[in-house]
């Protein structure tokens, strides 16, 4: 197994076997969605209209919440120091961790989203569009998150800081993510929004490992 695969497998194994918080994040995601009807009232039509945005907000919040485990455990037990000395360049390692982070933090949310769709009384067509836009957009959220986590990894009390830094940067992801779901009357621009979302995701995933590696190297020496 090559080094990239080994890093990926290690992160997955650690998260799945170590009594991971994967399920906790999924629970958080579902609970954010469930709280909405209590706040805005159980009107089916209103809920169906709000549902795509609510699912996006729930996914956004749960991905911000899970940021801290991306680098901090490795920083605390010294693994990050070893990874920096490894033969595999640090950006490649960060890319492996990014893929693992997406598999652990975003994929379970995608799998749990039918439940929210049911509770928020979405119709099938807009559910498929929401799922598609989540699948295209969450890599960008994970990539921005990796940058935020790498910047705050050296700070002892940095847990809350990463979401604060990353949330403003993620505004375009939310805009195009929700824009990719056709809603209401008016000209349908969801196709171009989905393409923009895909472009942001691709650019973010291509550049984030380098930025995150730079931040880790700058902060660790």
């Amino acid at each position: 197994m090559n080094a990239f695969g080994a890093t990926l497998a290690r992160d997955l194994r650690l998260a799945l076997r170590g009594g991971g918080d994967v399920l906790t994040l999924v629970l958080f995601f579902v609970i954010v969605g469930v709280v909405v009807p209590f706040a805005v009232g159980p009107d089916q039509a209103l809920l169906a209209r709000l549902a795509p945005g609510m699912i996006w907000i729930a996914a956004f919040l749960s991905m911000l919440l899970g940021l801290d485990r991306l680098f901090r455990p490795d920083h605390e037990d010294g693994t990050l120091l070893l990874l920096r000395q490894a033969d595999l360049p640090l950006p490649a390692i960060v890319a492996a961790k990014l893929v693992a982070h997406w598999l652990l933090a975003a994929l379970p949310l995608l799998l749990a989203s039918p439940l929210l769709a049911l509770l928020l009384s979405m119709d099938l067509a807009s559910f498929w569009r929401t799922l598609l836009s989540l699948a295209v957009g969450t890599p960008a959220l994970a990539a921005f998150g990796a940058i935020g986590a790498s910047i705050t990894v050296g700070i002892g009390r940095g847990g809350l800081l990463a979401p604060i830094l990353i949330a403003p940067l993620s505004v375009p992801v939310l805009i195009f993510g929700v824009g990719a779901i056709p809603a209401g009357p008016g000209p349908d621009q969801s196709g171009s929004a989905l393409l923009f979302l895909a472009a942001i995701s691709l650019i973010a995933c291509a550049t984030a490992p380098f930025a995150a590696a730079l931040a880790i190297n700058a902060g660790e020496d």
Partner: protein, 257 residues
Amino acid sequence: MSAMTVVSAPKQRWWNRIAHPGQFVAWTRPLLWPLVLCTALLFAVGLWFAFFNSPQDYQMGDTVRIMYVHVPTAWLSQFVYATMAVSALGSLVWRHPLADVAMKAAAPLGASFTALALFTGSLWGRPTWGTFWEWDGRMTSTLVLLFIYLGIIALWRAFDDQLRGARVIAVFTLVGAVNIPIIKFSVDWWSTLHQPASVFRADGPRMPGSILTPLFVMFFAFTFLFITLQLKSMHTEIKRRRVMSLERRAVQGAADA
């Protein structure tokens, strides 16, 4: 022989010379008072123009005068970020010690100008648009810019070791600099109410000279205010760092004795 030493000595350019914090302070301190006078003069002239020697708008009346604060601060909110991004580049690429200081000094100033632009904008929006806040492209992207500034300030406060923190923050500043055009574009795409650019256009400004003159004077006044405050807070930061290293040395001396 002496010619040889002159040739082989590394050529000291201003760039390298101001890398020494003490030299930087010694060089720029004489600039401070002239800058203060310049700023005060520009503000005096600009405010006189703005209040007494510029016409009312035929629709907006006297509220148009808010523009003389609103537009310069909005321009500075972006200019200060550009300053920070260039400093971040200097800090990452050349490890220029004063780039760190400039980056740190600019963040609160940029946040203040951005907040001022938003505040005056909402004061202006109430009588003209009938609302303090509207989810419009320019306003929303300025608000996001304010959050980025506040995040950077929070980041500076979180790092115990300012020298190590500076390079990490430089990375974040550059990521933000790449991202801000995308945010701007996406927010514009999302919704639009604010008028498009009307001063800097390819076919010339779309305003009469009687409004443009005070606007440009105020524009320079605010820019000079930024330069003055930036220099002063860089001096303060340099002094703060010197005090910290002296304290560290004192504690070390006490521990050795």
